[in-house]
Amino acid sequence: MSTAAFKFGPGDFEQVATERRTQTLSRPSVSYWQDAWRRLKDNRRALISLWIVIALALFTLAGPLLWRVDPAAQDLDQVSQPPGLPQVAVIVEPYVPWAGIMATPVPGTAETLAAATPEGLRLVEPATTQAVRLAWDPVPGASGYRLYRNIFDPEPDGAVGLPVAEILDPGQVSFEDRLDLEPARYWYSVFARDEFGAEAGDYATVTVDATRVVSAAEAETLGWIGAAAAVALGDEIVLPYHPLGTDYLGRDMLSRLMYGARVSLFIGVVAPLLFVVVGIVYGSAAGFIGGRVDQLLMRFADFVVALPFLLFMILFKIAFGIGPGESGIFPMLVALVLLAWPATARLVRGQVLQIREEGYIGASQLLGAKTTYLVLRHMIPNTMGVILVTLTFAVPTVIFTEAFLSFIGMGVAPPTPSWGSMSNEGLRTMLTHPHELIFPAIFISVTVLAFNLLGDGLRDALDVRMRGRE
């Protein structure tokens, strides 16, 4: 059969449709970041942590705008004030000296004195922070009296506290205490003295609740009220309010926590950003150049890793020194960057080495892509997930380091508050005023916890290989 005998006509050919989908995507295409965000949204712990981090950022940035209290201002009338409601003071007359109460000494023998207890110990007038005025009945045979003051109940151990007065005149049966009175409960104890000055017999105790009072002139000097003339005797005025209490110098805790957050979070966010950037540049250079340069660069990184981190943080901190009036944040940043970059560098180098061998890089090169394009378009976006996870985990580590250094007195210089230095100061008054330690400690812990959980969530969402691992 010859070909000439058979003729093809147009009817023999049917044009195939130029666009016929053999495969279709039934769902909308989801990019890597959209997918990561979706996974993160499903992770309840990570999402809560994200909200906590946002709340902390607001606390630091917007907090001082709403709560305009100077963190360095010392309110010496409210030192180590526990958190609570605003304190009030009653306006009274200015202080008038008190003559005291005199009584005729009652004679007695050594035996009766040895068995005696001062009777009738009482407050002469309501106790205030201006003065506590006490009186008692003369003890037969006493040649004087000794008074003690305590902030605890002397019972059952007979712990009467600190001696506040030594009365040598047996006729004087009163005492006025004006020493450093706070609006608190005091226990005053009185002993009778024998002729040798020793305490004789038992003591009597009176419990006193001192109320805070202030004279109009004083209140004006302290800035609590505008003008002395505006208030009348007996008026209650509200003192500067410290919702979370004050520290051992009477500085407002809430305001200090806000400014301290500024230091802790600033270092916690900026230092990881800096050393991650250094690590990316160093690691991608090593991975890309390869060969002997890579060997040399990575060997150096190994040495830096071997340096004991905290010891060298301290060493660098003193090497850079802190000038007068400086906060010491900058030297800490530099020291952190100098010591912490190798971990990221190693990670990025590993990633670069791995991605370099991927098929899409070869394809891109085949299409004529230049090195810069490869790095910017393929390498960095593909390592971004891992880098972001490192960054998130670096934040709590750095916050820990800052707190640790400030705690041992090697961190931020004193007038600048930081959570670490606040904890250090709080430690000294831990037994009597635990709130000064507990508040900064809670803030550090919650921040670190939030960043750790967020890091876990991000790792699960971004890093395919690490998914599902703890």
């Binding site: 190994d302 010891l311 060298f312 640790f404 041992i408 904890s423 250090n424 400690a441 750790n452 703890e470």
Partner: protein, 310 residues
């Protein structure tokens, strides 16, 4: 194995040299020096002291002398306590830190392995959830807070019971060591628990475990011989860095519990700019840590025959 050991040791020595050099450079760039104190107004005294410590020589010569002395194991004389040698200070205070550190590591390792194994066995059930919550807490609360709060708690407990069950601070008897070493080991224990959990989870249903089960081995034997032994390996790898973390973390615990260890001494020396003590303790700590990591790696090779040390 022998070649590997020698190679690691040489690397270790170079690392220690690097640490010593970095310390030297850092210390000599500190503004001010320990001799510019208030009582040394006399120029002659100052010159004599500088000569004694070799501070009058060129920096490079100082460096050579310093490295030479260090190679012979001599760290020099303290600046602030001029009758004490740094070697004596280390010899006196390091055993205290080491005891505390060893106890903490033992506590952390045993606790971490135990809790980690438990959480893996009870995966997603109540013990797992409770322990993992505590672990996250242990990782997130700084050691100084734990130290301070445990001290506070202990004080209240002693006061409540009327007798002192455990001393609140100080050093000396075994009882003094209990709370500080637990506080020191807590963070590492939390970290090891997480690690142990994930490594155990990979092994809980491994083929050899299933085989052992189908052979009819008793569960305790499977747990101890097959699961625990295999799951423990990653924990041993990180023990080197964990020891490092615990040793340096000891500063705070020593500070809070008033323990006369080397860490507290180091912090003091830093505050007084005591050059020789700072350099001596840093190099000593650095060398200790470097060789600890090497030791752990070598031990790892012995324990796990699958690991080829090259």
């Amino acid at each position: 194995m022998f070649r590997y050991t020698v190679k690691r040791l040489i690397q270790g020595v170079i690392t220690v040299w690097f640490i010593a050099t970095a310390t030297f450079i850092a210390m000599h760039s500190v503004p001010g020096d320990p001799l510019s104190g208030e009582r040394l107004a006399n120029e002659e005294i100052r010159a004599n002291l500088e000569a004694r410590y070799g501070l009058d020589r060129p920096l490079f010569e100082q460096y050579l002398i310093y490295m030479g002395n260090m190679a012979r194991g001599d760290f020099g004389i303290s600046f602030t306590q001029q009758n004490r040698r740094v070697n004596d200070i280390i010899r006196e205070h390091f055993p205290v830190s080491a005891t505390l550190g060893i106890l903490a590591v033992v506590f952390a390792a045993l606790g971490g392995i135990l809790w980690g194994a438990l959480t893996a066995l009870f995966r997603n059930r109540l013990p797992d959830i409770v322990i993992m919550f505590l672990v996250i807490l242990g990782i997130s609360v700084p050691s100084f807070v734990v130290a301070a709060l445990s001290q506070l708690g202990l004080t209240s407990l002693n006061a409540l019971l009327g007798v002192s069950i455990l001393p609140v601070a100080g050093w000396g008897t075994l009882l003094h060591m209990v709370v500080p070493s637990m506080v020191l080991g807590l963070g590492t224990m939390a970290f090891l628990t997480r690690l142990m959990r994930s490594s155990m989870l990979e092994i809980v249903n491994a083929d050899f475990v299933r085989t052992a089960r189908s052979k009819g081995l008793p569960p305790t034997r499977i747990f101890l011989k097959h699961q625990l032994r295999n799951a423990i390996l990653p924990v041993i790898t990180v023990l080197g860095p964990a020891i490092a973390a615990i040793t340096t973390g000891g500063f705070v615990v020593e500070l809070v519990f008033a323990i006369p260890g080397l860490g507290r001494y180091f912090v003091q020396a830093v505050q007084q700019l005591d050059y020789t003590v700072i350099m001596g303790t840093t190099v000593f700590y650095g060398a200790f840590l470097v060789f600890m990591v090497i030791l752990v790696d070598l031990v790892y090779g012995l324990i796990d025959p699958r690991v080829r040390l090259e």
